[in-house]
């Protein structure tokens, strides 16, 4: 084995950088600006955002979309009629304009969806956060309660509740029936995320500065655990809209006088063979809405995740 020679690279060949020099892009960044920068490049984002905006506008100002009344302009002569001038989607069995009913139905579907999601979100976040952060008996009690709710299929529970409360059917009771039983899986997801986050050194650093444990939970642990929650909530918003439709379809949702996509789908089933479009149109709106919310949720999660945005 020959003795290795002592090789020295020419000094000027590798310019020595200053040790650990601060390399920053000129533009200062913040969380939301960075998220926006990443979202801007995704065509799917514009698509789903547009769909969501249209549906929200529909729910807030249905008259922007149609001047035909979904209830007053019904003429039995038009029963199950095909598309006609000014009535692009045809008529229902009762002779009402399908397009007008779909537009007006967005409000109920969206309200129930948002309310149910808020209710399950609030219950799920509180129980999941407390169980994960404090552990011990708090965790045992809250997790067992969650398990009980988890073991009841929430559609079944909602059916039972809506049947019992048949006299008080409203958007609120429906939202409570759906949201009140859907929070357990959110609590579970958040609990495990909190368990992961709370072991981080920055949590210990915060407690060491003298911040109370509860305030540390609010200011550090919870914000860092929110990404799966955001995704879950947008998905469950879609799920709640579907649940409303399901319950209405089963006849235990809102009263038949209320306009909602679920009620329309339910009413259309009797004339499925003669006029399939009366069922298909509200279904398409339902599907597009649910898909738009879920896609938006996933995109926002990707964009908000700071770990995925690390810059060289």
């Amino acid at each position: 084995m020959p003795k290795p020679e002592h090789f020295v690279a020419p000094f000027d060949e590798n310019e020595m950088a200053e040790v650990d020099k601060v390399k920053l892009n000129e533009k200062p960044s913040n969380l939301w600006r960075d998220a926006w920068r990443s979202l801007r490049t995704r065509p799917l984002f514009y698509l789903s955002l547009a769909a969501v905006l249209v549906i929200v506008l529909m729910a807030l100002f249905p008259t922007l979309f149609t001047h035909v009344s979904p209830t007053d302009d019904c003429q039995l002569a038009n029963s199950n009629g095909g598309p006609a001038a000014g009535h692009p989607m045809g008529f229902t069995r009762q002779g009402c304009d399908v397009y007008a009913r779909v537009v007006w139905g967005a409000r109920t579907s969206l309200t129930v969806g948002v309310l149910a999601t808020v209710i399950s979100g609030v219950i799920g976040i509180i129980t999941g956060a407390l169980a994960g952060f404090y552990g011990g008996w708090v965790d045992s009690v809250l997790s067992r309660i969650g398990d009980i709710f988890f073991s009841i299929p929430y559609i079944l529970a909602a059916v039972v509740i809506m049947t019992t409360l048949a006299d008080y059917r409203s958007v609120w009771t429906l939202a409570f029936a759906i949201g009140g039983f859907a929070w357990a899986s959110l609590a579970r997801i958040l609990r495990s995320e909190i368990l992961r986050v709370k072991s981080g050194d920055f949590v210990m650093a915060s407690i060491a500065t003298g911040r109370t444990r509860f305030k540390t939970l609010l200011s550090h642990v919870l914000p860092n655990s929110m990404t799966p929650v955001i995704v879950y909530l947008t998905i469950s918003l879609g799920g709640a809209i579907v649940a409303e439709a399901t319950l209405s379809f089963l006849g235990v949702g809102l009263g038949p006088s209320v306009m909602s996509w679920g009620n329309d789908i339910s009413a259309a089933q009797s004339s499925l063979r003669t006029a399939p479009m009366t069922l298909i149109w509200p279904s398409i709106f339902l599907t597009v809405t649910v898909l738009a919310f879920i896609t938006l949720g996933e995109l926002v999660r990707d964009a908000l995740d700071p770990k995925a945005r690390a810059r060289g």
Binding site: M1, P2, H6, V19, P28, S29, D201, G210
Partner: protein, 578 residues
């Protein structure tokens, strides 16, 4: 032995000859060249070490040799001649035959490189069978035990049935070395094989690796960030920087007579070598800095002067009396056993000085730190910070107490909240303690960011935009925001690259001088202790086994354990001459 194996040592043909190797990665920001034309030879039976910081391309070079690059990486030029074949051109299936059989590999992290659901014997057998070292099951079983015995596991027959979690880190690394050597390869590539292990275990493992490779005449390519370790173990050292070789040569010559400014800089910043220089010169070092701005020896000597004048008479910054912590460890679902993690620990940190608490993993040093910080309650004993017993404080008094004492943690990636801007991270302690109004808090944040020598523009940034060293500066700035008397540094520099580590150590020394801080420095690395601390307490299994000034411990260790730790510092026995 078949004819193929040619372990002829007097041949002048290199076993591996790397010529102008270039490797690049396809990333989000385009194609990035990681290795820019690297050439070196490895002769049969020779040990060669590649040294460099993270990002220098040293691991990429090693994985490139074996065609184990991640999917976005590819060799863009050069040749790797091995046994008459160019490894950059051989087919995938040919490469499979070479890997393991002719080139063995020992990965970095013994904790994650064994599959936790299979027993150890199964995993070794996999390697044995894949390399065709046994024809049937019986032969394979026999060979597995042999491999583990060679790797230094005493009761290998019993051990084969056990699972990785029943093995300590050192034992797992032995298994991985066994797997790497199972097929008697001609070349073994070891990528930071011991950086996850305690120093004493590291020493044993490296000794074993050395004797094994010598016995079998295996060439060893050692990838490491530790210049001292490289020089101690290898006959030839290659220093890489930004994808290129800046200097290579016989290890001793390279250390004693470095030519390239980068190598000089590395040597000046390596704590193990610096402490060697401190020990050998044993004078108030006044020599010109070896590299450029960073020189640990100069920094340590300067700090030593300052601390001489520190206030030893007044109330000590920290005084710990008979501190004990007993955990109850779960055994099964209902029983639990008491486990004494910290056992009657006593020490004192005089104001304005640095006390190092040294020990291997599991010695209880971090538990002491947490108790002093009030993050764990003490089972017994007293902790006086500036004369006040911290173990009995509650509510407002505790808050006041926390203000005087701030921590800096090990992991610069985990200790900063990724969702908050740097400015609000540093301001948090001021908000918690309601100090001043908004304007004065902002002003204080600007002051401390100046103190840690970072530009004010970073305040609006987020942690993910900064490097590890810069994050650690932020963590130090946060600790300083409240103007504490005591800073507890829990392995605060262990996760950093050598040069950055030296920079942070220097910063800590400067801050101590300017602000009169007292440090409790928790570390596993005695080499670092040598350059930063005034007093040392050595912990073993929850007890302080030795306690004294840095000088006395390093020159005259009383216990066998301390001596073992000292001997295990890589590069501790290299005569540096100069």
């Amino acid at each position: 032995m078949t004819q193929e194996s040619t372990p002829v040592t007097d041949t002048h043909e290199p076993l591996v000859s790397v010529q102008d190797l270039q490797i690049g990665f396809q990333t989000g920001n385009g194609f990035v060249q990681a290795v820019k034309g690297v050439s070196f030879d490895i002769f049969p039976g020779e040990t060669v070490a590649i040294v460099g910081e993270s990002g220098s391309g040293k691991s990429t070079t090693a994985t490139g040799l074996m065609d184990l690059l991640p999917s976005n990486g590819r060799i863009t030029g050069g040749t790797v001649m091995f046994n008459g074949k160019d490894l950059t051109k051989v087919s995938k299936s040919e490469m499979v035959g070479i890997r393991g059989r002719e080139i063995g590999y020992v990965p970095q992290d013994p904790m994650s490189n064994l599959n936790p659901v299979w027993n150890v014997g199964f995993q070794v057998r996999e390697a044995v069978l894949a390399n065709g070292m046994a024809k049937n099951k019986k032969d394979a079983d026999k060979r597995v035990v042999e491999v583990l015995k060679e790797a230094g596991l005493a009761d290998a027959e019993r051990r084969v049935k056990q699972y990785p979690h029943q093995f300590s880190g050192g034992m797992r690394q032995r298994v991985l070395i066994g797997i790497g050597l199972a097929a008697d390869p001609k070349l073994l590539i070891a990528d930071e094989p011991t950086s996850a292990l305690d120093v004493t275990v590291q020493r044993v493992i490296l000794d074993h690796l050395e004797s094994l490779t010598r016995e079998k005449d295996t060439a060893l390519l050692l990838i490491t960030h530790d210049l001292g370790l490289a020089a101690e173990r290898a006959s030839k050292v290659i220093v890489m920087y930004q994808g290129k070789i800046v200097e290579s040569g016989p290890s001793l010559e390279l250390l004693q007579n470095p030519q390239h400014p980068y190598t000089k800089r590395l040597i000046a910043a390596a704590p193990s070598l610096a402490s060697q220089r401190l020990k050998s010169s044993r004078v108030e070092v006044a020599e010109a800095p070896q590299g450029d701005e960073i020189d640990l020896v100069a920094a340590a000597a300067h700090r030593h002067d300052v601390v001489e004048h520190a206030d030893h008479a007044g109330t000590p910054a920290i005084e710990v009396k008979d501190l004990t912590k007993v955990f109850s460890i779960r055994r099964g679902s209902f029983r639990s056993e008491p486990f004494t993690a910290v056992d009657k620990v006593n020490f004192t940190v005089p104001r304005g000085t640095t006390m190092a608490l040294v020990g291997e993993s599991g010695s209880g040093k971090s538990t002491v730190a947490k108790m002093v910080l009030g993050l764990e309650t003490a089972t017994e004993g007293e902790i006086f910070v500036a004369g006040k017993d911290a173990t009995v404080l509650t509510g407002k008094e505790m808050l006041e107490h926390r203000r005087r004492m701030q921590p800096v943690f090990q992991d610069p990636y985990g200790s900063l909240d990724p969702m908050q801007s740097i400015g609000s991270i540093i301001q948090e302690p001021l908000d918690v303690h309601k100090i001043g109004d908004r304007k004065s808090r902002e002003q204080r944040v600007n002051e401390v960011i100046d103190e840690v020598a970072l530009p004010r523009t970073v305040l609006s940034r987020y942690p993910n935009e900064l490097s590890g060293g810069q994050r650690q500066r932020i963590a130090i700035a946060r600790a300083l925001a409240l103007k504490p008397d005591v800073v507890i540094l829990d392995e605060a520099v262990s996760a950093l690259d050598v040069l950055v580590q030296a920079q942070i150590l220097q910063l800590l020394a400067d801050l101590q001088e300017e602000l009169g801080l007292s440090y409790l420095f928790i570390t596993h690395d005695l080499a670092v202790v040598r350059v930063v601390a005034d007093d040392v307490a050595v912990m073993e299994k929850g007890k302080i086994v030795e306690h004294g000034s840095v000088e006395s411990i390093f020159s005259n260790a009383q216990t066998e354990y301390t001596q073992k730790l000292l001997d295990a510092i890589p590069g501790a026995n290299i005569p540096l001459g100069a």
